[in-house]
């Protein structure tokens, strides 16, 4: 028989509930691509998850800040958090061309625009 406490311990072991924090993001849009810079300090590439569903882009990452076990924490401004942010894209994106890389705690996400949404120059020909 599983008691309520059993379930609770199991749940806390599986996934410790972390405070959710929206990371600071810079967004650029050029004629060819959309580029995002997301501040995710303390996150390693295996802890981050980027997903695109239709036009909804979700960035989520779990960050576990190690504590100094032999020391006493006297001042604390950051700790283990879950970074989560969702964006709605106004244009279609070429899914195969998405590049995500992380450096110095900053995620750089490059989303190339789908060919049909890119402006096309139409040549005007003069009739001879």
């Amino acid at each position: 028989m599983t008691t309520l406490t059993d379930i609770q311990t199991k749940r806390s072991e599986q996934e410790q509930k972390l405070p959710v924090f929206a990371p600071a993001t810079d967004v650029y849009e050029t004629t060819k691509e959309i580029v995002l810079f997301v501040d995710v300090p303390g996150v390693t590439p295996d802890q981050i998850d980027v997903s695109l569903e239709n036009r909804t882009l979700t960035i989520s990452a779990r960050r576990t800040a190690p504590d100094q076990v032999e020391h006493k924490a006297v001042h604390r401004e950051f700790g283990s958090v879950e970074y989560r942010r969702t964006f709605t894209l106004t244009k279609d994106v070429d899914r195969n061309g998405i590049v995500a890389r992380i450096k110095n705690g900053v995620l750089r996400l490059s989303l190339p625009k789908a060919a049909e949404t890119q402006p096309r120059r139409i040549e005007v020909q003069s009739e001879a």
């Binding site: 600071a24 810079d26 650029y28 580029v35 800040a65 924490a73 705690g105």
Partner: protein
């Protein structure tokens, strides 16, 4: 809430106030709120013989960060520059602040400046600060008469 100081070039534009208001409103509805007022966020741990100071400094080249120790005060200073891989134009949202930063932490004891170690990993700076030998408590043997 900290409001950004108006940039000089905005003052030439009669609509700058409206644009700034628009930016603030956009920011309010974007779901983004800065976690801490000061940059970088600091954590400090203290033990008998050494202390550890950690700072969240994402996107900064370690060469642009300077750690200095004077007595029992540690200072982290540096500059957060624009991303080198950012497109030249077309910026739509700017939440990641740039510019120079400086923060200090006071420790309960003086630090052996030569033995301070600093490591930067995944945007987090971790500084180990050993206590100065001369300030460590010394056990005095009590002799029985």
């Amino acid at each position: 809430m900290v409001y950004p100081v108006a940039r000089l070039d905005w003052t030439l534009d009669p609509f700058s106030g409206i644009q700034q208001l628009q930016r603030e409103v956009d920011r309010l509805f974007s779901g983004y709120t800065p976690a801490v007022e000061q940059f970088p966020a600091l954590n400090l741990w203290v033990a008998q013989d050494d202390a550890v100071l950690a700072a969240e400094i994402p996107g900064v080249d370690p060469k642009d960060v300077e750690v200095s120790v004077v007595g029992n005060v540690v200072t982290i200073a540096g500059e957060r520059k624009a991303d080198s891989s950012a497109p030249a134009d077309g910026q739509q949202r700017c939440e990641r602040e740039r510019g120079s930063f400086s923060r200090s932490a006071r420790l309960p004891y003086e630090v052996e400046a030569e033995k301070v170690q600093a490591r930067y990993e995944h945007g987090v700076l971790r500084i180990t600060l050993p206590r100065k030998e001369s300030t460590k408590p010394r056990r005095i043997a009590i002799t029985e008469e």
